[in-house]
């Protein structure tokens, strides 16, 4: 076969180029440790995510010093947690200087989980769990979007990751609040809040109680992975109640712990007893509907 010398030269150059490309990619994998999404996780039943040890417990979990897991459900057409722009779910909140492993799966169709303007980008396939470990070294916000067509609302599927300074990051949640269902106007009531600390270090929580128009705040030291309680004593006579029949209260822990916003507060109401108890039935209902108010 008659191949011109120039063409032989080009053949060699082309081979060198190809090998150079493969070498570059291998350097990225081996030298820099850039890992691919792979088959390290077992498959999962997309119709039973809530029974799964990981996806039954969505959100941020600390696994070590500066190491966190985030379990995320990508579904038509939101990320849970993540899709906070329209108030559907909490944002994903992680601390600065952390190594975070994102676990993402889908209960319906194929999605993606892509952190905008970065290399954190994975397909999310029902039945499979995508795992990405990334390092967050800068306190800032990142957008998340789905870049795989997933149905008619695909373009609205977005979310946010908030990377906050370390001292503003907490894993507190309000585990329960013990409050009386009713009280005589003018009496003192005691409201006891129990706070969980899911972090692997003891942390000091600022617990606040809003009741009537007043706000009270207690400092509470909570050990690593445990709970602690604090009691607020409120003189209902000192509250500006006007003609209210109920006193609404809300317990919140540490504004910085958005990661657990959903359990980050609890609220309920106390029925005010005057001369008769006509309102008893309705006040019971109020308490039942309250968000974890008397667990």
């Amino acid at each position: 076969m008659n191949i011109h010398n120039y063409e032989k030269l080009w053949l060699i150059a082309a081979m060198l180029l190809i090998i150079g490309f493969i070498v570059t990619i291998t350097y990225g994998s081996v030298g820099l440790g850039i890992a691919m999404i792979d088959d390290s996780e077992e498959t999962i039943d997309p119709n039973a995510l809530e029974d799964h040890e990981r996806f039954g417990d969505l959100g941020v979990h600390q696994t070590g010093d500066g190491e966190y897991d985030v379990n995320i459900r990508a579904y038509q057409f939101n990320f849970e947690p993540g899709s906070s722009a329209l108030g559907v779910h909490d944002p994903i909140v992680v601390p600065e200087n952390s190594e975070v492993t994102l676990y993402v799966t889908s209960p319906d169709v194929i999605h993606s989980f892509s952190v905008v303007g970065t290399n954190a980008n994975t397909m999310v396939v029902p039945g499979e769990i995508s795992v990405m470990t990334v390092e967050f070294n800068e306190a800032r916000e990142y957008g998340i979007l789905c870049n795989e067509y997933c149905g008619s609302g695909h373009h609205g599927m977005e979310g946010v990751i908030e990377v906050v300074p370390e001292d503003e990051f907490h894993l507190f949640s309000v585990a329960g609040v013990d409050a009386p269902e009713s009280a005589q106007a003018g009496d003192e009531v005691e409201i006891t809040a129990t706070v969980d600390n899911d972090a692997l270090d003891a942390d000091s929580a600022a617990v606040s109680l809003e009741i009537g128009e007043e706000t009270f705040e207690n400092e509470l030291e909570v050990d690593a992975e445990s709970s602690a309680s604090t009691t607020f004593t409120v003189d209902t006579g000192a509250l500006d109640l006007e003609d209210a029949v109920d006193i609404d209260w809300t317990v919140t822990v540490e504004d910085g712990s958005e990661a657990t916003l959903e359990d980050g507060s609890a609220s309920g109401s106390i029925a005010l007893e005057t001369d008769d108890d006509e309102n008893d039935d309705t006040t019971d209902d109020d308490n039942d509907e309250s968000d974890g108010g008397d667990q």
Partner: protein
């Protein structure tokens, strides 16, 4: 339409034809590919932090 034979000034056979122009063009293309690859990998890609790392 066809330019088969019209406007031909000469006939050049295989052995008397050295595609120097092609070599020059393809050499430039090679350099563009090489430089663009390096730019895309080491500037655009590696500079595009967050990057997925293995479990350490």
């Amino acid at each position: 339409m066809s330019s088969d034979a019209d406007a031909l000034e000469r006939h050049i056979g295989h052995d008397e034809f050295d595609p120097v122009g092609t070599l020059a063009l393809i050499g430039i293309y090679f350099l563009i590919l090489l430089l663009m690859w390096l730019f895309m990998y080491f500037v655009e890609f590696l500079g595009n932090d967050l990057t997925v790392v293995g479990m350490i």
